[in-house]
């Protein structure tokens, strides 16, 4: 009983935050769709689901997300091998750079991709612009890092001896991989794939910018239905579909994630140097480099173009408000705002995430307790799967009167970003906590240590590195967050992604150049944060 109470106590704050900033706004928006003129009318919502267009949208979402996931896994697994099982100079930098796309704002990536594959771009001859292939490439660009991290982490701690034994018995490398390594990696691959699928299925900017309007996913359709048509019934119908699908996916993932006893010792042998025999993974990693590097290179090249020549003019202009006062504040001010907001989002998501991670990793004594923990775990993943526009409009109509009159609050943006980063934080901390043998805590307790003391002596030494790493991830996510921020940000204090979006939307070659330069600065800042995290060697991100 006391255990359950402790559990509830720990869960109270995160659950309250989730309730106020997620459940309440989303259910507020959903009820707008279900209640028409004060009458409960689910029929209209159900009718939406039979529209041919709705079915087409759902079908496109499923197959584009599947294709994006497949590409990310096919590229990510070999790259994970090279980056986590082989040693070569510059490995840390490469790992950090490959993480940058994951946290770049989609506005930036959209422009970068279109610079590259647009009809006039260097890859224009491929005819990718506005095609489904471009969308799939964009999805893979964002998510290949998740696969590399998650699979790489599992691979790193894999006992190499079974594979060595198989090789000693005469099995070829491909055979060893297929029969020994792959089965051991399967849980990591499957869980990474399901998270990537989740990210792909809810991608918004990628589909809108790269699809050239020919394609609609559930996420973009909710946006159009809400902001343009005010067809709240249809939007509610699609939101429900999305929530149901994501709940199902999370349920399946949690089953697949179940691994052997985490308190088993793991080996982290010093990886061997890269050799000629690694050519398959070298080749694929090079492909990943091209996929991730080209759009970023396109950004950098574009940002250095001034008129018909080259120069740093666009970067120097970042201290101004753009040509014809396109902005209210200089880009440098926006960078400061972004950094400050990220600090707040970071401490918020860390404190919430730590509580959640502790709750979900403590050993359960009864079935009901285990179920409860599983439920809590899944609950905090749900924000991943809800459209930013649903959440944004939901804020406006539900948090609008005392005691929850938060529409004006400066806290809104960091809170929204913290919720976006929360799943990542939980997934970074939970594996570390799960790895702590509960018997150590029991031993500490039997020696007279209180729960706090036990936490400080047993958990904290294992946890501090993942904590700092999680802080880095949360910080980077906040830097790049655009969807929720664009909805809630206040005019006087725009963040970098917002400023970039503004600059692209204002005529004048200088504004466009500044947008590219600002994107490069944002990407570089993100990379710097990731590089610092990389130094900690925490095998996480996407260890879902």
């Amino acid at each position: 009983m006391r255990r359950i109470l402790t559990l509830v106590g720990l869960a109270a704050v995160p659950l309250a935050v989730l309730g106020v900033f997620f459940v309440l706004p989303v259910s507020g928006m959903l009820s707008e769709g279900f209640w028409v003129d004060g009458h409960f009318d689910p029929g209209a919502v159900a009718e939406v689901l039979t529209r041919p267009r709705t079915l087409r949208v759902i079908w496109f979402t499923v197959w584009s997300a599947s294709a994006g996931t497949a590409v990310a896994v096919l590229l990510g697994v070999p790259a994970a091998h090279l980056l986590h099982r082989r040693r070569f100079p510059g490995r840390g930098v490469l790992r950090a750079v490959l993480l940058v796309p994951f946290v770049l704002p989609t506005v930036v990536v959209g422009v970068a991709f279109r610079e590259l594959i647009g009809e006039a771009g260097p890859l224009g001859f491929l005819g990718l612009d506005g095609s489904a292939a471009a969308i799939v490439a964009g999805l893979a660009f964002f998510n290949v890092a998740v696969v590399i991290r998650a699979v790489g982490a599992a691979w790193e701690s894999l006992d190499p001896r079974p594979a060595e034994a198989a090789a000693a018995l005469g099995a070829g490398p491909a055979y060893v991989f297929r029969t020994v390594t792959l089965p051991a990696l399967r849980p990591a691959i499957v869980s990474a794939a399901s998270v990537v699928f989740l990210f792909c299925a809810t991608a918004f900017g990628v589909v809108l910018t790269l699809g050239g309007l020919r394609y609609s996913s559930v996420e973009t359709e909710i946006y159009l239905l809400t902001t343009n048509l005010l067809d709240l019934q249809a939007a509610a119908a699609l939101s429900v579909v999305q929530l149901v699908a994501i709940t199902a996916l999370l349920f399946v993932t949690s089953r697949l994630r179940a691994v052997a006893d985490p308190s088993l010792a793991r080996t982290t042998a010093r990886p061997p140097r890269v050799s000629r025999r690694d050519w398959p993974s070298l080749l694929v990693t090079a492909l990943v480099g091209v996929l991730v590097g080209l759009p970023i290179a396109a950004l950098v090249v574009g940002s250095l173009q001034v008129g018909d020549g080259w120069g740093t003019g666009n970067y120097r202009a970042l201290t101004t408000v753009g040509s014809r006062d396109a902005l209210l504040v200089p880009v440098t001010d926006a960078l400061v705002t972004s950094l400050r907001t990220a600090v707040d989002a970071t401490w918020m998501s860390l404190s919430l995430g730590l509580a959640v991670a502790v709750i979900v990793t403590r050993r359960s004594h009864t079935r009901a307790e285990r179920r409860t923990r599983g439920l809590v775990d899944g609950l905090f993943m749900l924000p991943l799967g809800v459209s930013a526009v649903t959440l944004g409009f939901g804020f406006l109509i539900t948090l609008d009167r005392p005691p929850l009159d938060l529409r004006d609050s400066v806290l809104l943006v960091p809170i929204a970003q913290a919720l976006v980063a929360l799943p990542l934080v939980v997934r970074t901390l939970a594996p570390a906590l799960a790895g702590v043998d509960d018997r150590q805590r029991q031993a500490a307790a039997s020696l007279g240590a209180g729960p706090l003391r036990a936490f400080a002596t047993v958990d904290l030494p294992v946890l501090w590195k993942p904590l700092v790493a999680a802080a880095g991830f949360a910080f980077a996510v906040s830097l790049g967050e655009f969807g929720a921020t664009s909805f809630l940000a206040r005019d006087e204090h725009p963040t970098m992604p917002i400023v970039i979006f503004h600059l692209i939307g204002h005529p004048g070659a200088m504004n466009y150049g500044m947008a590219l330069a600002a994107s490069v600065v944002l990407a570089a800042t993100t990379a710097a944060v990731m590089l610092a995290v990389e130094r900690l060697r925490v095998p996480s991100l996407g260890a879902f």
């Binding site: 707008e32 005010l230 400050r340 005019d491």
Partner: protein
């Protein structure tokens, strides 16, 4: 030693971070007036993301009226209107700017605005919304969405530029036109309305031909203009683009002449309105702000800050505008009530036509 090397950057980040939090450091923000309402009464303006009021004008308003101005800007005209509709029982602010003539009827039908007959500059009264008898919406600026052409491209390729909507479906202009989509952008919607005004019930037929002729549709104006248009920042390769009548004023080269021009027979006029929100906390301040938006200073600042024309014809335009931003005399028009009644059907049909 090893842990020190790891710790150093971490420590640096933590130190740097703890020194600056947005919440703690936000002393100079406008939130100040919020917390202690008695300092000065504030006016909250809800608007779209393209709204820009130069800082000195904002200060002038605050000095002249004693109100503190707070702006909340996000989304486009459509998102703004729908936000106002959703929150009409408890408005987001005191005054809204940016509902345009394609959304005006929805806002009026939903009773978002309170009546306020501001004193209009001579000539601006013809921009009032038909049927808005209470004068809840005050016209503040206007701009027309028009097809633009890259004159240098057509000169270099020795092709005569198109002159009207009919030309865009001709083989000579195959694969040359790029436009933002109607479902995702307000200029795109305006263009759809222009074709509906010109072709009536035959508009789907025109759009079919347009798509068959290789028209490219992008999500937003910036995608079309900056990436695909030959004169945009991305140096695209389509010399015909959907933009505004004011756009040629932004492509003036070193020699002082514009490299692009707007086709004035293809235009649809967008008028942007301001209005006092029903249930506003500070209706007096809201009315003062509506008046201020019509003042000669703000009207004169509109071209440079928002790329639109003032509704006050007596205001002097910037030099480039006077020479290169020509306005259509007789733009295509669709009755706002008609738009309100059919907009959803039109958009759905348009989406089905173009997303095949």
């Amino acid at each position: 030693m090893r842990s020190l090397r790891v710790f150093a950057p971490v420590l640096a980040i933590v130190l740097a971070a703890s020194a600056c939090s947005a919440i703690g450091g936000d002393d100079d923000g406008p939130g100040e007036g919020t917390a202690s309402g008695h300092v000065s009464k504030r006016v909250v303006l809800v608007t779209h993301e393209s709204f820009v009021l130069p800082e000195e004008l904002q200060k002038k308003f605050e000095k002249d009226t004693g109100y503190q101005l707070e702006t909340r800007a996000s989304g486009d005209a459509g998102a703004l209107t729908n936000k106002l509709v959703l929150t009409k029982d408890n408005p987001l602010g005191d005054v809204a700017f940016g509902v345009d003539n394609t959304f005006a009827s929805r806002a009026l039908d939903e009773g978002v605005f309170a009546p306020y007959a501001a004193k209009l500059p001579a000539g601006a009264d013809q921009l009032l919304v038909a049927g808005d008898d209470d004068q809840a919406l005050t016209p503040v600026d206007k701009a027309s969405v028009c097809v633009n052409v890259d004159d240098t491209w057509f000169a270099e390729h020795d092709v005569a530029p198109p002159t009207g909507l009919d030309d865009l479906v001709k083989p000579a202009y195959r694969d040359l036109f790029v436009a933002p989509g109607a479902a995702t952008s307000s200029p795109g919607m305006a263009f759809l309305l222009a074709t509906i005004a010109k072709y009536g019930d035959d508009w789907p037929d025109y759009w079919t031909k347009l798509m068959d002729n290789g028209t490219k549709l992008d999500a937003g104006w910036s995608d079309a203009y900056e990436v695909d248009f030959t004169q945009g920042g991305g140096k695209g390769d389509r010399p015909i683009v959907l933009s505004y009548d004011s756009s040629p004023a932004f492509t003036v080269g070193d020699d002082g002449t514009s490299t692009t021009s707007a086709l004035l027979d293809t235009c649809f006029r967008q008028v942007e309105y301001a209005g006092v929100l029903k249930g506003a906390d500070n209706p007096d301040g809201a009315r003062a702000l509506v008046d201020f938006l019509l003042s000669p200073e703000v009207q004169a600042a509109l071209p440079d800050s928002m790329y639109v024309f003032p509704v006050d014809p007596s205001v002097q335009l910037p030099a480039d505008w006077a020479s290169y931003a020509k306005q259509p005399t007789d733009p295509w028009q669709v009755d706002p009530a008609d738009i309100a009644a059919h907009r959803d059907d039109w958009l759905r049909e348009w989406s089905d036509l173009t997303s095949r």
